[in-house]
């Protein structure tokens, strides 16, 4: 006999994500889900962003890390609340782990929570955390073919940052073909070229994210 089910296999994650989203909305907190390959520069971007915006906004950070708290250590000096989620081998965060750590933040007095997801371009893009939006970070040292190879992320992201622009001349990263591919996958998403370490294009990013936080 056949039993009809017709259900989303990821319902449990989706439902919890919606709970998180409703809570954040009620508390008026923006949540940014930061997704990139390992080493593209998520933690560096956070370091710079905290440095620049921590006096202007009340910021919190969730660090998704497979086993360590190395990234959290790097951010500690900024005096903003940081919570580490160790995924114990898992290649992505999910809404249940986010929901579990949210009580550690004083949400009444918070403007934005940045979530550094586990470094990976595939898995994190399939698990809704309840975030306000996803940010995709790519770097010039990983090749220009990422939008075509990982279309889900590039379609879902609200902003794309191309980092390590200072290194582009040492790589074979072809900006024109990156733009063509990105345009084919998602012609509407804003793209910013930055270098976190050389401070190139960062003001544009600070302005953009400030606007998102202010208009939430």
């Amino acid at each position: 006999m056949e039993i009809k089910i017709m259900k989303n296999v990821l319902d449990r994650n989706k439902n919890k994500a919606n709970e998180v989203r409703n809570l954040l909305k009620e508390k008026n907190v923006l949540m940014v889900n930061m997704i990139s390959s390992p080493g593209a520069g998520k933690t560096t971007l956070l370091e710079k962003t905290l440095e620049n915006l921590k006096d202007k906004f009340r910021i919190g950070v969730i660090e998704g890390d497979i086993t360590t708290d190395r990234d959290a250590q790097r951010l500690k000096g900024h005096g903003v609340p940081i919570v580490v989620i160790n995924t114990e081998g898992g290649c992505h965060l999910d809404s249940h782990s986010i929901s579990k750590v949210l009580p550690e933040f004083d949400l009444e007095n918070m403007d934005v929570i940045f979530v550094e997801n586990v470094g990976n371009l595939v898995c994190p893009s399939h698990f809704d955390l309840g975030e306000t939006f996803k940010l995709a970070l790519v770097s010039t040292t990983e090749g220009d073919d990422k939008p075509i190879k990982y279309p889900m992320l590039f379609r879902e992201a609200k902003i794309i940052l191309l980092n390590k622009i200072d290194l582009i001349e040492y790589t074979n990263f072809n900006k024109a073909s990156f733009h063509v591919d990105l345009n084919n996958v998602n012609g509407k998403v804003p793209l910013m070229e930055i270098s976190c370490t050389r401070n190139i294009g960062m003001d544009k990013w600070y302005n953009w994210i400030s606007k998102q936080i202010s208009s939430k």
Partner: protein, 115 residues
């Protein structure tokens, strides 16, 4: 390896339904995944077979259908199915599109024998 997590959730649903429906054996599982989910079918089968060991679905056949990507154009309202992942409307060239299919992770049904 999002295949692993998806398989875990799937097996959870199967065993729950099998229990409430009093199945002694699940023989077939019918699922549909959108192409955008980027499941590698062989990897999925492998983790599924590992996960159902010792459960009511241990000998279940996995019937996995991959759904193509479809989008609706917000400009000319046409719907298009694509097999390359080129998100540009072939009718009017617009890239203002809404995905209408391709992100599913659906369990349609299970087949089995009653106790």
């Amino acid at each position: 390896m999002h295949e692993l997590k998806i398989a875990e959730e799937l097996i959870g649903i199967i065993t729950e339904v099998a229990k409430s429906e009093n199945l002694k054996k699940v023989t077939k599982v019918n699922i549909q995944f959108g192409k955008m989910i980027m499941i590698v079918p062989d990897v999925f089968r492998f983790v599924f077979e590992g996960g159902v060991k010792g459960t009511v679905a241990k000998s279940a056949k996995l019937n996995l259908e991959i759904l193509p990507v479809k989008f609706a154009c917000n400009k000319c309202k046409e719907e298009t199915e694509i097999d390359d992942l080129l998100f540009v409307c072939p009718y009017c060239g617009s890239n203002d599109l809404d995905l209408t299919q391709g992100r599913e992770t659906i369990i349609e049904s299970i087949e089995g024998e009653k106790c």
